[in-house]
Symmetry: C2
Subunit: 451 residues, 2 copies
């Protein structure tokens, strides 16, 4: 029996899959924050190149992946589909557990899939510099490498708590040539306003986004780049699911349930949407389970409504699950999951009943991560550990029910640059943040009023 399935470069997809083409109901459009009318390409042109704007709005089912992008994908793709036999044994479960290991990319996560694509389309448009934000640093490091490959300068606003907790990800970005600033910074109006309110602010993804957009909007040669949430980002991530379909076929194990962590939702969309295409077509009955932290329970406790993508209210309004654009999540170690909103496409799919969600506390995730590290050898990113916790619960349920079930999850990244988080865990210094209900209610009260 194989442990890893099909690693031949011939299965690297030649096209990305756009689920919008197959949804029974279309998702609600983004709205211009001033006019409240659907935002058009011109509204996005100051901050994105046209190649990406076109992908944001397209109804084409498939988009060809440029050769230049596929050439770089070949550095780490196809990523392995691995049977977690040792974890199965430890759990004594009849379930078969598979994971797609996106941690093998040079930057250590799935973020490289869209970083390379975004850098390509920016280069094509003659962009000289990109500004972006990053949480735990997974996105910032992936885009640093992609920009280095295409000869584009990069400025990264890194959420301050992660800047402090994950110094190695900063080093990585700098080694690949990026400038990195902790956010909130004193380099932007948005940052200065946040520092004036709270000089010790941990920062949030929403705030770092505001800083990066502000910088990009002020400079004609500079564009902005987002690592999740938007349609084109989810599109690029579908290489994960397309490869997984071919690999699951080789393994003779079509998944009964697919599990992934969700911050902005792009990695989970990436593995899930190609399989969801088959469910929508009626050929399969797969379940989809999104896993979020109890400290930032966007789907399970948020509202499905129009909200801003950032704190400074500069983005178009997106219809999505949200905790409110100025919700400040606790400083959990899964920095990539500390986002108040959710990808509109993921929210829409959840709202149609095609996806479920569950929230889990961080200490249970670290328990799960250590079990995974000690059985399968791989140390997962704290973000990915949320999926592992839910997978273990699913596998134990299968054991109770005596059901032989195929579980597939997305191992979105490795945790080698998160070992300080594991130190905190091993020292007993971690706590959970289970009920941010008051903070959520307060942020919800500040949602924009859109009928």
């Amino acid at each position: 029996m194989n442990k890893k399935y099909i690693l031949d470069e011939s299965i690297i997809p030649e096209r990305w899959y756009n689920i919008a083409a197959d949804l029974p109901e279309p998702p609600a459009p983004p709205l211009h924050p001033g006019t409240l009318q659907p935002a058009g390409p011109d509204d996005l042109a100051p901050i994105f190149p046209m190649g990406l704007i076109a992908q944001e709005a397209t109804s084409d089912r498939y988009i060809a992946i440029p050769d230049e992008v596929r050439d770089i994908y070949r550095i780490w793709r196809p990523t392995p589909l691995v049977r977690a036999t040792n974890l199965e044994k430890a759990l004594e479960t009849p379930a078969h557990i598979f994971f797609k290991n996106e941690g093998v990319s040079p930057a250590g996560s799935h973020k490289a899939n869209t970083a390379v694509a975004q850098a390509f389309y920016n280069k094509q448009a003659g962009v000289k510099r990109i500004a972006t934000e990053t949480g735990a640093g997974q996105w910032g490091s992936a885009l640093s490498l992609a920009c280095k490959f295409f000869g584009i300068d990069l400025t990264v606003y890194m959420v301050k708590i992660s800047y402090q907790q994950k110094p190695y990800r900063r080093s990585m970005m700098q080694l690949w040539g990026a400038e990195v600033y902790p956010s909130p910074s004193d380099r932007t109006n948005a940052g200065r306003a946040a520092l004036a309110e709270d000089p010790d602010s941990n920062g949030t993804l929403g705030l770092a986004i505001s800083e990066a957009i502000e910088v990009a909007a002020q400079d004609d040669d500079c564009k902005y780049s987002l690592g999740s949430v938007l349609n084109h980002v989810l599109l690029h991530q579908t290489v994960i699911g397309e490869e997984a379909i071919a690999q699951c076929e080789a393994a003779g194990a079509y998944p009964d349930v697919i599990v992934g962590c969700v911050g902005g939702g792009s990695s989970f969309a990436g593995i899930a949407f190609p399989f969801l295409r088959e469910r929508i077509a009626g050929t399969r009955q797969t379940r989809f389970l999104a896993v979020e932290p109890t400290a930032c329970p966007t789907i399970t406790k948020g509202q499905f409504t129009y909200d801003f993508g950032d704190v400074a209210q500069t983005t178009p309004l997106l219809k999505m699950h949200t905790l409110g654009h100025d919700f400040m999540p606790a400083g959990i170690h899964a920095g990539g999951l500390r986002y108040h909103g959710m990808a509109p496409l993921v929210s829409h799919v959840v709202n149609m009943g095609l996806m479920e969600a569950v929230a889990v506390p961080q200490t249970k995730c670290f328990d799960a991560a250590q079990l995974f590290a000690c059985t399968e050898g791989i140390i997962p990113a704290p973000e990915s550990s949320h999926a592992i916790k839910a997978v273990i619960d699913e596998a134990l349920r299968a054991k109770e029910e005596g059901a032989e079930r195929n579980i597939l999850f997305n191992l979105t990244g490795h945790g080698l640059l998160d070992l300080s988080s594991y130190d905190a865990y091993l020292s007993g210094d971690l706590r959970d943040y289970d009920h941010p209900e008051e903070a959520i209610a307060a942020a919800m009260a500040r949602l924009p009023k859109i009928s």
Copy 2:
């Protein structure tokens, strides 16, 4: 054209290759440090299990790899053989550069190849605990995971300068269940003696070995394990070269020169010996180039003579290239290359004129590492960067000569847990240690006198 060659599990070797069976002259035997007579199995029995002692002395050409070991190898093997096309372009060289990426193992280096084998034979012998040393932590982390897989307790003495420079490798070992102490420690006679002499000692591998052997020798249930130098360790590493031969064939590119860094010599032996078998058989004319740091130039500046493997003079005497068992190398960032001696088999092969060596300073290695990271995406371990520096020199020489040449090197590990070293490099805080000639002369004067 493929970027990565054959990743199918069917090429994982079924047997290790023992070069001793094919050498034109046999290597000199180890000597008992008391009697100066060839050391027999009984001399090693207090610290090693019989399965490994038998491999240390065997003249069998091939040793079958146990199924339990191959099952674990399948977590990361076969490792990719990668064509470094982007690096070639950056150098504008007609040379074709290939690397074998051993950094994909869960612990991040080639050390896992022997760690798993050693843990297996110890488990088979009923051993409950292993004591070992580690330099930069590559070996300690690999053995931690291997011991976790086989249910063996582990105590690691980590060279103090690395314990301080690489805190994440300590976290990794602890996550996998090991106890880790900085060496010199106050837990052993050898450690206390070193601290009495210099309370601020950086430590050395030779000293950490003394601590671990002392602990193992005092406890019947505890054995000792070494991550390099010895014949059985080199044997286990030959999976690298055996896979590479199959992959080079698929690439249609038999190497003209094979390059690797050397600390104790096991990773380089691992990639080189299977190819050397073909050179000895007269079918190929491959060159072999071992690369060491100028701060610890064992082959290029040492003597080929009998010496101890450790500071406390507790090991058998080994005939090898040595700088003297109490030579204290400067605190370079490639902690795994700070060893005074060299594997006897590597030394013997060098002495027969079958291998060359070169010494390079660390700042040039970091320059090379950054170029590699920015072209191929992978951040190399500081140890591996020594090979990259020499490969770049070879590729530039090929360019001068207009020669299309196949260069293969061993990327022994990734540098994701060495990013503090890259920080020092990027800040301009690194220096070189080019001429430790007085220190070498002094240590040489204390060599044991063996005719």
